[in-house]
C-alpha cells in the first residue's frame, strides 16, 4: 500500500460512516473526472451533520483522494451549504421580483414576528432558522418559500401563522404537494418525507435522494439566542430596503 493508503487504513473515519465513504467513492466513478463528485459528496456530509464542519470536509476530501483545499474552496462558493449550526427547520423566503410584487416583504415580516428571530437568525429554542433567498422557481405561485427544501407557495400572513404553529408543534406537513394540485411525478415515485425511499430503485450510482432533510442536523442545534446562523464565509445578507447604508466619508 502507498503511504497514503497505509495512513488511511490506520485512521478510521469519525464523521462519515463506511457506507457514506463507499457512496462517495461510487459517485466518483460516475464522472469522467472524480473531482466532479465534490458537490454530491458535500450533500452527503450536510445531510449527515446538518452543516459542513471543517473536520467533515477533511473527511470528504480524504474519501475523494483530494487535499482539503479544493473541497473547502468549492463548498464556500455555494449558498446552500451551511457552516454554522441552524434550526431543525430552515425557512428560506424568496423576496425576488415576482414575490416582491405579491407582498413577500410582509410575509417575511410575519415570519420574523411569529418565529421571534431576525432574518438570518435562529429562534431561541433552535427550532427554526429564517433566511431570505433568491428566486426559487415558484414565481407563478408567489410569494413562495422553502422549508427544508419543500415548497410552500401563495403565502399570506395567515398561512404563515399556521405554518409556524405546525413547526412549533414539530409536525409540519412535509408531504404537502408544492403546487396544491396533484403532481403526478410526486405521488407515484417519491416519498417526500423520506426522499431516500423512492418507489423505484435508483441506478446503482444514483445520488440517491439529494433532498436534504435538515431535521437530521438536529444534533447541531445551537443554544437559543446565539448569533444568527450566517453562512460563515459569506457576509450575512443585509435586510433589504430598510435602512439606508452609511454614507462613505468624503
Amino acid at each position: 500500500m502507498s503511504p497514503l493508503e497505509l495512513r488511511d487504513a490506520a485512521t478510521p473515519y469519525e464523521i462519515l460512516s463506511p457506507e457514506e465513504v463507499e457512496r462517495i467513492k461510487v459517485l466518483r466513478t460516475r464522472y469522467p473526472q472524480g473531482k466532479s463528485a465534490i458537490l454530491p459528496a458535500l450533500w452527503i456530509l450536510q445531510r449527515k451533520e446538518g452543516i459542513l464542519s471543517a473536520d467533515g470536509m477533511r473527511e470528504v476530501a480524504r474519501a475523494m483522494d483530494l487535499p482539503p483545499g479544493p473541497v473547502e474552496a468549492v463548498a464556500s462558493f455555494y449558498s446552500m451549504y451551511f457552516f454554522k449550526p441552524h434550526g431543525r427547520y430552515v425557512v428560506e423566503m424568496c423576496t425576488n421580483i415576482s414575490c416582491l410584487l405579491m407582498g413577500s416583504n410582509r410575509v417575511l415580516e410575519r415570519f420574523q414576528t411569529q418565529l421571534g428571530c431576525a432574518v438570518g437568525g435562529t429562534t431561541e429554542d433552535g427550532m427554526a432558522t429564517l433566511m431570505e433567498v433568491e428566486c426559487l422557481g415558484a414565481c407563478g405561485a408567489a410569494p413562495a418559500a422553502q422549508i427544508n427544501h419543500r415548497f410552500f407557495e401563495s403565502l399570506t400572513p395567515e398561512k404563515v401563522d399556521r405554518l409556524v404553529g405546525d413547526m412549533k408543534a414539530d409536525n409540519l406537513d412535509l408531504h404537502q404537494m408544492p403546487t396544491g394540485r396533484e403532481v403526478s411525478a410526486h405521488r407515484e415515485l417519491v416519498d417526500l418525507a423520506n426522499p431516500g425511499a423512492n418507489r423505484v430503485p435508483l441506478p446503482p450510482g444514483g445520488a440517491a435522494g439529494t433532498v436534504v432533510d435538515l431535521v437530521k442536523g438536529a444534533a447541531n442545534l445551537i443554544p437559543g439566542g446565539e448569533h444568527p446562523a450566517d453562512r460563515g464565509y459569506t457576509e450575512a445578507a443585509e435586510p433589504p430596503n430598510q435602512t439606508p447604508p452609511p454614507e462613505r466619508p468624503g
Partner: protein, 447 residues
Amino acid sequence: MSDLTHIRLTRDIETPGLATLDGYRAWGGYRGLEKGLGMGPAEITQAVSDSGLRGRGGAGFPTGRKWTLMPAGKKPRYLVANADESEPGTFKDRYLMSRNPHLLIEGVILAARAVEADAAFIYVRGEYAEIQTVLETALAEAYAANLCGENILGSGWNLEVVVHGGAGAYICGEENALLESLSGNRGRPRPKPPYFPAAIGVYDAPTALNNVETLCNVPFIVERGADEFKSVGTERSTGTRLLCLSGHVKRPGVYEVPQGIPAMALINELGGGMLEGRKLKAVQPGGSSSQFLTAAQLEDTTMDAESIAAHGSMAGSGAVVVISEDQCIVEYTSRLADFYYRESCGKCTPCREGTFWLSRVVRRIEAGAGRPEDVELITSVCNNIDGKSLCALGEAAAWPIRSSVQEFEADFQAHVDAHACPYRDEQVNPAISGRQGDPEALVEARA
C-alpha cells in the same frame, strides 16, 4: 382563445402517472428515440437545424448550428442539459421536469446521439431537490428499459446519463460557470474566447449545452419532422414557447403558446388580465435580465424574439413579469440590483464593483437618501459594466437597471426630490402608499 395556445410539450401534462415509463409511453413517448436510433447523427442534427429551433435558455442560439460547431471526431465529447433555471420569474423547466421527466430524458438521449456524446449530464439547481429525485427515478426506469446505458435498444450505442445537483448559485446557469461547477470547481465562468463549450467545454472536451425546454422539443422534431414543428410560430422564431407569467395578473402560470402571439393577449386573455383595480405599468418580458417594456410599448409587441428586440428588450428565458402602477419601480429595481450584487461571482472588476455600487445607489434612492446626480451615476456605472465584463451576468445586471432609470426617470427623480419613497410615505402619497405589497389582498384576489 384557441389560437393563443398550441399544446405540444405540455399536452396532458397533469395526467397521473405521466412521470412513469409506462405513463410516458402511453402518452406517446420514446417514439422519437426509436425513430432516431434508425437515423445517423448528422440526420438528426439536420432535422433540428431545418426546424429552426433556437435555444430556450435565454440567448436564443440556433440549436442545430450549435451542435455543428463541435469539432468532428474529437473524442470524448459530452451533452449537458442546463436545468439550473435560476432566472427570476422563470419556472417552466420545473413545470416540465416535475411532471414529465422522461420527455427531458428522451430529448437528452436524442441530442447526445446527434452530437455523438459519450456521456450526458443533467445539471439541476440545488433548490430543485425533489426534481433531482424525480429525474433519477425516471432515469432508473430508462436504464432498466435499456433506453440508455449499454447497447441502447440493441443499437450497439452506449450512453451514460448522470443527474448532477448544484448547490445554490445563479451564476451556475451561465454555460461556462455551469461547466466549471460540473467539473468540481467553484462556479466561475471561463472567458469566451477561447472557452466556447462546443470547442472546450467540460473536462476541456467539446460539449453541447442546451436548456431543458430546448431539449424537450427534440423528440417532437425527430418524430414528426421539421416542417410540422415549423407549422406554428413565426418565420424566425419557430415552434411553441413556454411563457412563465407572474406578477400582478389574475392567472399566473406556464402557458405554451405559438411564438408571435400579441403580448397583451398573453396578459389579458390567457393571464385573465390585471388583478382587481390594478393598472399595467410595465413588464420585464424575458425575466429579470430583460429591459422593461412599458404598457404603451406592449400594445404592438408580439411574443417572439424579433418583436421584443425591436421594442428594445429581449425574449430571454420567456418569463413575463407584470408590474402594476401601484408598485414602486425604484423598490423593484433596488431588489434587482441587490440580486445581481449578491450573485455576481466577483471574478471580473466591472461586474464585481459595478453591481456593488448599483445596489448601494439604487437602495439609497429608495430609502430617500438619493442625490440629484444619482440617476446619471447609475447609467454611467451600467455603461461601465455593459460589454466590459467577463460573462453576460454583467449585462444581465446593467441592461434592466439602465432601462429602469431611463424609462422611469420621473419615479427616480420623485424619490430624490421628496427624500422619500412616494409609494411608501403616507405624507407624500397617501392615495397609493401601502397598497403595493399587501399579500392578503393580492394572493386572495387570485384564489
